[in-house]
Symmetry: C3
Subunit: 167 residues, 3 copies
């Protein structure tokens, strides 16, 4: 089963995704994609880490999260796709290469037969960003989210901590 | 009964909240939290004021709105929580103190047995803001909205003037 | 029939609108409102153009789209209202005149008895913009979208390519 949780900043999407992940028995993998190591992000990561305690085995992979798609796990929680998209933007300069990387990942998501819970962000509902990189990112992110949603069995949009089933 | 209306800028959330408030008989309290006094905001306040006319008794309180939780009122409309969060950010410099102020308010919302209609904004669906204060605010706002939504009986997400019941 | 599709950047709203438009038989009009001619926009326009091929007759009109409301067409797809709002902001300096232009357009939408599919953007869910023009635009856009939604028979909010019927 593939489930996608999408929503805004601090909307409660991670909490909902984790709640679902914990309804599966162990072993569970928490697949962290964040690659940013500034203090603010470290604090956020630390908060997430405390919340999950020892309930998951944590794997960290910024650019090739699919290498931890292990069918011996009962459930894999990817937190989050937006960081993965960000890493694609950071490490890969060419548009075509960026799309290629994402499409390869998408293929592996499709093929994977285990339980996959994915968290992503809606980033395009605040108007057109003033700088062109942010515009490009909003486009990429919208495109990628749509492809993930298309192959997901269930999709939830989380607003103010309330989840709305949109697929 | 506690009802929360959330949505974006000029989405029609205030109009929907006021429509509901007017379905209660008088006395009604309009609890305004805005503390900003620039010309642009004054115009906006004036527009809201004209719309509500003499249908409400207006109370203004930027930081302790709960002091107007009067059980002799048939309905209290808080317009809006986002301004209240903003005031918390403006007047209280410490993160822990900010959260404390909000949690005290939340406690009073929980305890209040009258009819409370609250308006708030979704601010985190436009990507990660470029400045750290705005990021902090988006986090705080998302966290606070979730807690309010949790103790509300009904929650509506308003898009293009159409309300979607999400709780 | 009047149908409105709203959503964020690259949310899939155009694709959904086009899918619906193609369910009507020819002649179909694609009514393009974009007036911006920088390279980035030209690329985007080109992408849209390739996708629609010869399935539509294309009309371009930045400020008076209603002049192509032709009842001999089976369906008219307006892509998109947000560009139209943008053009109003660009060409008309006065607030009252801007609103007048929109309300005249709205009147023609109301009167038109053919099939009209409209695409617009939600731009106010990312917090209050830092510059006043963007704030004004968010207000205008929210106000205009609400009026269009009010006279539409069906309204869809598109998230991650999934359409949610909100009216």
């Amino acid at each position: 089963m593939k489930v996608l949780f999408t929503g805004g900043i601090s909307s409660g999407k991670s909490e909902e995704a984790e709640k679902l992940a914990l309804s599966f028995s162990e072993p569970r993998v928490y697949l962290a994609t964040s690659d940013i190591k500034d203090n603010e992000t470290l604090k956020r990561i630390d908060r997430h880490r405390k919340r999950r305690g020892t309930l998951y085995e944590t794997k960290e992979e910024p650019l090739y999260p699919e290498r931890f798609f292990d069918k011996n796990c009962n459930v894999i929680l990817i937190e989050c796709l937006t960081h993965f998209y960000n890493n694609i933007f950071y490490y890969i300069p060419e548009k075509a290469e960026r799309e290629k990387r994402f499409l390869e990942f998408l293929e592996e998501v499709k093929k994977f037969e285990g339980n996959l819970i994915m968290v992503t962000n809606e980033v395009g509902l605040g108007g057109v960003p003033a700088n062109s990189l942010a515009r490009e990112f909003a486009d990429f992110s919208g495109w990628a989210n749509r492809l993930i949603a298309q192959i997901s069995d269930e999709v939830f949009f989380v607003i103010s901590g309330l989840k709305l089933k949109i697929k």
